[in-house]
């Protein structure tokens, strides 16, 4: 209870601090324009060429990131992004202020049109991504190298924790979802899990090395989904392809006009698409909610002190709550991505059915009874 009291005091002091800051910011913002929540959130969840730290008074403190571009006319260029700040132009490149490429590096072509060069700059998301990768590799390699091959000792501490974590995912997600040849896919799926998890966690840290919206960026989830898609279809069995192009449905559904094959084929692509969108949307939503709750303080400044104080308290408490929830979501999303990938791989590893089971898989309702019976039998057998 003593501690609770302390925490409460701290929170009150902290909140009054933020409130004063908010007032100042709002005042400064008010001079120029109304505080725009939508732009504020979009700016924070999307990628950038700089890592904005803070703004004290009128000076912006931010870390410039290296820009690496390849122009079709002038070739490769690389320079720090602070050369392009405040609308400056450098080597014919500048940050677009409007249009489709708003905020991106563009160059002017012969017709004075803005075109995008091939841009592999180390942006905020890229930097965070590389950092997470280094962190992930060092953590896992540390665990892997801490084993003594000749000793069968059990590890404690961090290695023990990681081992438990890895074995939990391996035994409770990958093994039951894929089936008997899960060992081929376990390393990939474990990598995916920990990759997504560590990036989610890094995204929750609100200051410098973290806070970038990595897994909430469509390019990241796109690559992850592509990898799963490729693995699913490369390791798909003959039965898997047969079920796509010649599914067990009445012949008129597949013979002259291939309804079912088309639907199945679309399904092949919707599965990884769903993977991509699910992770992206969940992570971007989490970031947006936290940002929106923080914006509550700035938005309510104009409504007077009483309202602003109340909303500040509400905002801080809700932010804490959402951050805790986001911690859970970070795990759940990594878990779901891994589990769905494992399920899709497991579905692609389908073996030809036993003849009598195949008969019962037809669409006739009469057969449902038999199906239930056989399922019951199998259940009893498994018991």
């Amino acid at each position: 209870m003593k501690n609770l009291h302390k925490i409460f005091c701290f929170l009150v002091i902290f909140m009054s601090g933020t409130m004063v800051m908010a007032e100042e910011k709002a005042e400064s913002v008010q001079h120029k324009e109304q505080f725009n929540v939508r732009d504020f959130i979009l700016e924070h969840v999307s990628d950038a060429y700089t890592w904005h730290i803070t703004k004290i008074g009128d000076t912006e403190y931010s870390i410039p990131m290296p820009i690496i571009v390849h122009s079709s006319t002038t070739g490769w260029h690389s320079f720090l992004s602070n050369r392009l700040f405040d609308g400056h132009e450098y080597k014919g490149f500048k940050l677009a202020e409007e249009g489709n490429y708003k905020g991106k590096v563009v160059e002017l072509n012969d017709k004075k049109e803005e075109v995008r060069p091939f841009d592999i700059s180390i942006t905020k998301v890229t930097f965070s991504l590389l950092l997470s990768c280094i962190l992930l590799i060092s953590i896992i390699m540390f665990v892997a190298t801490s084993y003594d091959k000749n000793k069968h000792e059990s590890k404690g501490g961090f290695v023990g924790f990681m081992e438990m974590f890895i074995m939990n995912i391996n035994d409770d997600v990958i093994k039951p979802c894929i089936g008997k040849d899960y060992k081929t896919f376990a390393p990939y799926l474990l990598t995916v899990f920990f990759f997504v998890f560590i990036n989610n966690l890094m995204g929750l840290i609100p200051f410098f090395p973290g806070g970038a919206n990595v897994t909430g960026n469509i390019a990241i989830t796109f690559v992850l989904a592509i990898c799963t898609f490729v693995i699913v279809n490369i390791f798909g069995t003959a039965e898997y392809w047969r079920e796509i192009f010649w599914p067990e449905v009445p012949v008129w559904l597949k013979a002259p006009i291939p309804f079912m094959p088309v639907i199945e084929l679309v399904g092949v692509f919707t599965k990884p698409f769903a993977l991509m969108i699910r992770l992206f949307a969940n992570m971007i939503a989490g970031h947006s909610i936290v940002l929106a709750l923080t914006c509550l303080i700035f938005v309510t400044v104009n409504l007077g002190h009483a309202m602003n104080t109340t909303m500040t308290v509400v905002s801080v408490f809700l932010s804490i709550f959402i951050n805790v929830v986001e911690f859970l979501v970070a795990y759940i999303q990594a878990y779901i991505f891994t589990m769905l990938s494992a399920v899709f791989i497991g579905l692609a590893r389908v073996q030809p059915h036993h003849p009598h089971v195949r008969k019962k898989r037809s669409f006739k309702i009469v057969n449902v009874k038999h199906k239930i019976k056989s399922l019951r039998k199998r259940f009893r057998k498994n018991k």
Binding site: V45, L129, L136, M141, A144, A219
Partner: protein, 166 residues
């Protein structure tokens, strides 16, 4: 909808970094960890099996030991019983022997006593005879001191001898 269009640069970096992560971790990371855990699991299972066997062995040994102890105890009881019986027999033997010996001793003592007694009796008789002869001598001498008596005696004696001769 800039959020929904994947950025080419980011795609490039993601492919590169994720590819490296996958290759490194799925070659040198996770398989090693999984293998170690697996081998440890089998080691533990084996150890448990061995321990169970040892336990069973131990129980068997214990039972055997108990059996040996029981046997020994039974034997001990048997030996004790035998010893008791032997002792009784020995004591009885000794007793009978002793009594026979005692009887023999008594017998010899008795014989000795009777011999001594007879000797003593014979001795006494001798002495009595000697004494009576002496007494008789004395009496005779006393009697012979008187003249008449001598003649009387001779006569009586002679008479007696005659009688016996005839």
């Amino acid at each position: 909808m800039a959020l929904l269009t994947p950025e080419s640069g980011l795609l490039f970096w993601m492919f590169l970094s994720f590819g490296i992560v996958v290759i490194v971790l799925s070659r040198f990371g996770f398989p090693i960890i999984l293998k170690m855990v697996e081998s440890r699991k089998s080691f533990i299972d084996e150890s448990l099996l061995v321990a169970k066997q040892a336990h069973e062995e131990l129980a068997k040994v214990k039972i055997e030991g108990q059996e040996i102890i029981n046997n020994a105890r039974r034997e001990q009881v048997a030996i004790l019983n035998e010893a008791t019986a032997t002792r009784d027999v020995l004591i009885n033997d000794a007793k009978t022997k002793a009594s026979i010996e005692a009887l023999k001793l008594i017998e010899s003592a008795r014989r000795q006593i009777s011999i001594e007694k007879n000797d003593a009796i014979r001795d006494i008789r001798q002495q009595v005879t000697d004494l009576s002869i002496e007494i008789a001598e004395k009496l005779l001498r006393e009697k012979m001191s008187q003249n008449g008596e001598q003649m009387n005696l001779i006569n009586r004696m002679l008479g007696e001898i005659n009688i016996t001769k005839s």
